[in-house]
């Protein structure tokens, strides 16, 4: 049985398709890189100026001039390119990144995202998150469905300062997958063993349930 983190990563990795240019956020999203099958040819972008992140270097081959946005030593794959930060964010802001997978603190039913600061705690800064949510063609947020106190992170409205308004396309939690459409927030998949009612119980946001999921659930019943 998968841990909740493994469940999120496994499901999120299915978002990555052949030929895509993808930006993976710092933290859990970075782990997705290990899940990309070798049959798929993808360019991972690092906002500090690299298109085509490769695996971590072998011990002893670390290179201070070659890091990712999380400041980890990395390598560059064949066909990679280096560029400055203005060019990097031209790619991001200009809509050239097919997919960005980012961590979240809260997501609202309108697709608002909060993931950069907690009032009262020290401000660290938003880095490239505000640019990414405005620029990438598809924004997938991955996060636990509830916090360590059991409170939902899927909100009617964000209580934390937002990173962007109406920017989330898909939310993947350890319990469910939601899409944000012009008709509102839609539950499309259940991950793990919950029922639709279980998901409703741990979700403050209002959402509808996709036809496909309803049919699938009734079949399974």
């Amino acid at each position: 049985m998968l841990t909740s983190r493994e469940r999120i990563i496994k499901r999120a990795s299915e978002e990555i398709k052949d030929g895509m240019n993808v930006n993976l956020g710092i933290g859990m999203p970075t782990l997705l890189a290990n899940e990309i099958p070798e049959t798929i040819d993808v360019f991972l972008q690092s906002e500090n100026g690299l298109l085509g992140i490769g695996p971590y270097p072998y011990a002893g081959e670390e290179n201070a001039d070659l890091i990712n946005a999380g400041k980890e030593t990395v390598t560059a794959r064949a066909g990679a390119s280096f560029f400055d930060n203005a060019e990097s964010f031209a790619m991001i802001r200009g809509g050239h990144i097919d997919l960005a997978v980012l961590g979240g603190m809260e997501v609202s039913e309108d697709g608002d995202l909060a993931n950069w600061m907690i009032p009262g705690k020290m401000v660290k800064g938003m880095g490239g998150a505000m640019d990414l949510v405005q620029g990438a063609k598809k924004i997938v947020i991955i996060m636990d469905h509830v916090n360590k106190h059991g409170e939902t992170k899927v909100r009617k409205a964000c209580t934390l300062p937002v990173t962007g308004l109406k920017v989330v396309d898909r939310l993947i939690t350890d319990r469910a997958v939601f899409d944000f459409t012009k008709d509102g927030m839609v539950l499309t998949e259940i991950l793990g063993n919950g029922t639709i009612d279980d998901i409703k119980a741990c979700t403050e946001a209002s959402f509808t349930v996709s036809k496909k999921l309803l049919e699938g659930v009734s079949k399974n019943d």
Binding site: D65, F82, D84, A86, G125, L165
Partner: protein, 235 residues
Amino acid sequence: MSAKQVTSMSEIIDVIKDGDTIISGGFGLCGIPEKAILALAEKGVKDLTIVSNNCGVDDWGLGLLLKNHQIKKIIASYVGENKLFETQYLNGELEVELSPQGTLAERIRAGGAGIAGFYTPTGFGTEIAEGKEVKEMDGKMYVLEKAIKGDVALVKAWKGDPYGNLIYRQTARNFNPLAATAGKITIAEVEELVDVGELDPNFIHTPSIYVQHIVEGKSYEKRIEKRTVRKKQLN
């Protein structure tokens, strides 16, 4: 040839005065102008406004200037790696302006390129947009962000020539070419100073026009912030 080349950073660092705005290249500790920062820390100029994506760590990079209480204000996108920062910020010694990373890069580029301001979607509807002009263009909302210029820009390159043409290596490029354009005076430090004509004119990252002084640094430390490796696979 007009001489831009100096023999040591200490020879030129005096162009920086108390109260100056300094734009520094680097991302984390990668590609930072480490010789210039060391010279600044030694010289002890005060009340600096620093424009840089990050602010170093407690004992390296721009963190050294924090340690010395030389910084009055910082404009950055992420300062989470530096604990001194927190202390000085909380006791009101340090003023902070957070700018999203792409916006920060673009503001510096704009400063160098004579663009006074630009409309970006980044930060619309967030705290970052508070007090800024917003405008709807083609059905989308944008925030007006303004250019940043520096009294001095500090840049670290891989190789340079005596005219100030520069090339950077891999992700150590980051903010350096942008900073280079936006200083009234730009000081470039390089790992290797090569003869005029050795750099291929087709592949110059920073054209000489942006650089006023160039110096070759010795034995760069190039500290690694997060050493991540994989195991060598046995054949």
